[in-house]
């Protein structure tokens, strides 16, 4: 993004809160606080070091106010940016700007959700749109299904290719002790699962989890004195294209076609420089669109690109190495977990699922119905 300096900040602390199905009556702010403390312990900072708060959840309109109260921190800088699941990639870009300009020194980015406990309808009520709601689209699934129908029509993408995305994610999840799903999955199982919004069965759709996470960001200079290996912010790109799916200009081209080039330009890198690719996979069409739009394969080739285990462990490109929103965890807004996984890959902490010599990792967030796209490129100290 214009005005941001490559490598000026780093993510130094990361953590998940409790995940999947949390204790009864936990609040989303409880989960944020738990993840915050774990992320501080990860990097060796104290709660009182935090002077910038960036947060979003569907269950609180002003989470920075909740956090100011709950944590007892008076932020010098606060940002409630809410653009759906990509909010946390956006927070990284905004925190980078704030730290680079001295508006805060230690930024907390955090998320919490109890949507599995409360139900999706109760935790994230749909906004009424008089030009759409009357047709009872099952949102957000129907929005992505409409986009998938166009991709299938224009490029011959098949339900089997969509299913390959879910199958690959499951293979990665089986290598992640934190993942919710523990059993293997086949293409046939995806195709024969309960239909939700054609062409998607329930196995083409992300999990419905509780959970939260936290990231701690500081300047590159300060990052050197932390106890963890810094994940430097090399590039950020952000693009808002629409709110409702009927207003998406081209259903086969997402805003990642803008956010990706912005992030790569800032980083001075190209897709072939990335070793770990973490893409927001709320639905199986997403990684197909994002691989194309971010430049990992030509437009229209995504379906073929994800086939034959090419994005599974041992494949051509390591995509969604934690198991993704499809098989690891998806509490409504998945974006923060793309970043935690990207950082773990750069640190070399991923055990069986570790990408060898991983120095550049990409986290691509998506929000709404393909509405907001935010790309963050992170690098190890070999890249700065």
């Amino acid at each position: 993004m214009k005005g941001l300096k490559r490598g000026a900040t780093a993510i130094v602390g990361i953590a998940e809160s409790d995940l999947h199905a949390v204790a009864p009556n936990m609040s989303p702010i409880d989960l944020m606080a738990q993840a915050t403390r774990r992320a501080l312990d990860d990097c060796g900072l104290k709660l009182s070091d935090i002077d910038g708060i960036f947060a979003a959840t569907t269950q609180a309109r002003s989470p920075t106010l909740y956090l100011r109260e709950y944590l007892g921190i008076v932020p010098r800088y606060a940002d409630n940016t809410m653009i759906g699941g990509s909010s946390f990639e956006s927070h990284v870009a905004h925190a980078h700007a704030a730290i680079q300009n001295g508006l805060c020194d230690v930024a907390l980015i955090t998320y919490g959700s109890t949507q599995r406990t409360l139900s999706r309808a109760a935790s994230s009520p749909r906004e009424f749109n008089p030009y759409e709601s009357v047709y009872k689209p099952f949102m957000p699934t129907t929005g992505y299904a409409l986009a998938a129908s166009r991709h299938m029509h224009q490029y011959g993408t098949t339900r089997e290719q969509l299913a390959e995305v879910a199958v690959s994610a499951r293979k990665w999840a089986l290598m992640n002790p934190r993942a919710w799903e523990k059993e293997p999955l086949t293409v046939e199982q995806v195709l024969n699962a309960r239909m939700v919004s054609y062409p998607f069965t329930v196995r083409d759709c992300c999990l419905v989890s509780d959970g939260g996470g936290a990231l701690i960001m500081v300047s590159a200079e300060r990052a050197k004195s932390m106890k963890t290996k810094p994940a430097y912010v090399l590039g950020c790109g952000e693009y808002l294209s629409h709110n409702s799916i009927s207003n998406m200009a081209d259903l086969t081209v997402s805003g990642a076609a803008h956010s990706g080039p912005q992030a790569f330009q800032m980083a001075g890198l190209k897709p072939s420089d990335v070793q770990a690719v973490e893409l927001y996979d709320a639905f199986t069409i997403n990684p197909i669109l994002f691989l194309e739009d971010l430049g990992f394969c030509p437009k229209g080739e995504g379906g073929r690109f994800v086939s034959n285990g090419n994005i599974a462990p041992g494949g051509k490109l390591a995509v969604n190495t934690n198991g993704g929103g499809l098989s690891y965890c998806h509490p409504g807004m998945y974006g923060i977990f793309l970043l935690t996984e990207a950082v773990r890959q750069l640190r070399g902490e991923r055990g069986e699922a570790q990408i060898p010599n991983c120095n550049v990792a990409l986290a691509h967030g998506n929000g709404g119905v393909l509405s907001s796209q935010v790309t963050v490129i992170l690098g190890s100290d070999a890249t700065v």
Partner: protein, 130 residues
């Protein structure tokens, strides 16, 4: 005109047309751009010069899905490219929802409203309609 209080909302005017059986949209008279959903000012230019028009009601299916919900048979949700140059969400009726295909020609029909829900536009197949 920008200083005057609006007596009707864009959606209010849209509903009035629906009640008369018409699918209405706006055109920005500065450059003849169709505008849908209806707005107070035109997007991009910011022009207040929006004029209401009634569509001939013909369009083409741009994207389609079938929603499987509890307690109701599967139903269609589609995006329709209306001939006057705008896209809208709707559904195609009178046909198995799985047989709604991209590129299919369709014609608008007003779905009757009730006390809670004003009438709203749906589509039916219009084979042969150019």
């Amino acid at each position: 005109m920008l200083d005057q209080k609006l007596q009707k909302s864009p959606y209010g005017t849209f509903i009035e047309h629906c009640k008369q059986g018409d699918l209405a949209f706006q055109v920005c008279t500065d450059d003849n751009t169709p505008v849908y959903f209806p707005r107070v000012i035109a997007p991009v230019s910011g022009s207040p010069n929006l004029e209401w028009r009634v569509s001939k009601g013909l369009g083409t299916v741009h994207a389609t899905t079938v929603v499987h919900a509890k307690d109701t048979p599967p139903y269609n949700v589609a995006l329709i490219d209306v001939d006057e140059g705008f896209r809208m969400m709707s559904r195609v009726e009178e046909i198995d929802p799985m047989n709604v295909k991209i590129g299919m020609r369709v014609k608008v029909r007003m779905y009757p409203g009730d006390e809670k829900q004003p009438p709203y536009p749906v589509f039916v197949p219009a084979e042969g309609a150019k």
